[in-house]
Symmetry: C2
Subunit: 296 residues, 2 copies
DNA sequence: ATAGTTCTTTGACTTTAGTCAAAGAACTAT
DNA sequence: ATAGTTCTTTGACTAAAGTCAAAGAACTAT
């Protein structure tokens, strides 16, 4: 890897955290410990339903005892109200009181004012450029943080993604989608195929399946990306990973089909070296068929 | 200002400080308090000559007593050696011992490894895109943080910039440059003209002068940008600010001259609406002459 | 020379942040 | 029903971070 990229990232990190991050923390905190301010912010961000202590603990990476005490302190200050979770009464849920919401709004106001102050020195055009550059950087940093893993055909994360996929396209296809059509666990386990799940900060955000169509021929199914992880280039990465698995398993060629309505997907397949072929199955949802020779 | 830009900056800040900044801090610290690790890093960055406690204090924003104790602790650990400043014996200067340098190198190694880990998930092309986006963002953030101020004609910062300007072009012009040619304090003070200095985090990084050439005609002189603040678009901003001052002072037109060798400057003047005119003075350093009508 | 500043150190604190272990209540799987 | 988990609270700490004021040595300006 070129050292240029490493040093550029480090340089940016130093500059940004010192100039913007530290400043924002300081403004956010104001007359309250930073950890408390941060927690108030997280509870506020969670919105109406409140945030469970469990969530807060993982989100902020705090010790359970420390967090418990901090919530209690916020409660004493009248900013937070704690109740039990509707479904699991071990779990406690914190939500803002009206005083807490006022404080949260004040935090936001201060943070906005800080950001505005930073942007004030730029022309409208430069602000647009900055926003564009930050968006591009964030997209790439997110993408870099996502890990694609091979999971078992009946793994909970894998099935959850497939179910989300089914629900997603059921809403999208005029004719709906029957979840019984999904690949079966044994079709994508062991030597038969593969199920890939992409994780972002521990949460599954995308999947893709590979199964055996006939000897030497693999089929790629159910490439799906969570709505909040779209436009990162993740589908392409999953496709690459699936092709690599296919090559490792000794397939010479992979095929896939797609629904007429998914035109972006079709464009992606073409861009990734797939060529359109005649119908190879009787899938009622499929209208376009593609295939790609794998380099061995 | 569009709220889009504000929220985009805030979103990026949250994502970046949490994902990258916090991680880097954690790695940097390792088995040493973060504040100590940071200080070691700052002393290391300062290089051979060491860093004065005074510098460190402002750079890290720490209380004098706190810093004093921290340096002493680093000294006890054999990582830092403290001596007195050559010119001012109130000031103490900290520099790394060889053990300190080893620790500093280790910090850098860890930080590089972290950055490399982050970049590993990206293709070479995507890494290039990320580097480009970060560079653009940093450029704009720096530019946004720079404030242009009107200073008195004999202000220390102003004269320091003008001296730097003179030294700079003395090295650049084949025939050298005589500093006696610089504008005099009274020419750029009060109603006669203006001296602008641009500050980045308290340090003067650029200047520009405006003086009266004849009634209704101003002259822009000595637009200079510190080498470390170049390519940010700062010269253009100074030029804008000088023109604004000129308009406020009632000039109808501003002129300027430039040396044949400064082709980038000439291109900038043209891009900013200046048109070339015949020689209007007998300045030996000048070969191209420009003028711009000011909107009133 | 002298008054006012600047730079640093020291003493005496407080607050914030965080850790670890024990224990109880509520869930889950068998 | 019961054993094992999960979620949270509490007690008992420690370490890190930071503040404030006083004081001495070294500078600067008049």
């Amino acid at each position: 890897m070129e050292t240029k990229h490493v040093s550029s990232l480090r340089r940016f990190n130093r500059y940004f955290t010192r100039r913007i991050g530290a400043l924002d923390d300081h403004y956010l905190g104001q007359d309250r410990p930073l950890a408390e301010a941060r927690m108030l912010f997280e509870i506020g961000e969670a919105g109406g339903g409140g945030a469970s202590l469990r969530e807060l603990r993982t989100r902020l990476g705090l010790d359970a005892g420390y967090l418990s005490r901090m919530v209690k302190s916020l409660e004493r200050q009248g900013l937070v109200r704690v109740g039990v979770h509707a479904e699991d009464s071990r779990v406690r849920v914190a939500e803002l009181t009206s005083a807490g919401r006022a404080e949260f709004a004040e935090q936001n106001r201060r943070s906005d004012a800080l950001a505005e102050g930073l942007l004030r020195g730029l022309s409208a055009e430069q602000r647009g450029q900055l926003t564009g550059a930050l968006r591009a950087a964030q997209r790439l940093l997110r993408l870099a943080a996502i890990r694609v893993e091979v999971v078992d055909g009946d793994s909970a994360d894998g099935r959850a993604c497939l179910d989300a996929y089914a629900a997603d396209i059921d809403a999208r296809f005029p004719e709906g989608y029957d979840p019984a059509t999904l690949v079966l666990p044994h079709e994508v386990s062991g030597d038969a195929g593969a199920l890939l799940v992409a994780y972002e900060e521990g949460r599954p955000v995308a999947c893709g399946a590979l199964r055996t169509l006939e000897p030497g021929v693999g089929e790629i199914k159910h490439v799906w990306v969570h709505p909040e992880a779209r436009r990162l280039g993740l589908a392409r990465r999953l496709l690459d990973a699936l092709e690599q698995r296919a090559a490792e398993r000794g397939f010479d060629v992979v095929r896939l089909d797609t629904h007429a309505s998914l035109t972006e997907a079709q464009a992606m397949y073409r861009a990734c070296g797939y060529t359109e072929i005649p119908r190879y199955n009787d899938d009622v949802y499929a209208s376009h068929f593609f295939e790609k020779q794998l380099a061995r």
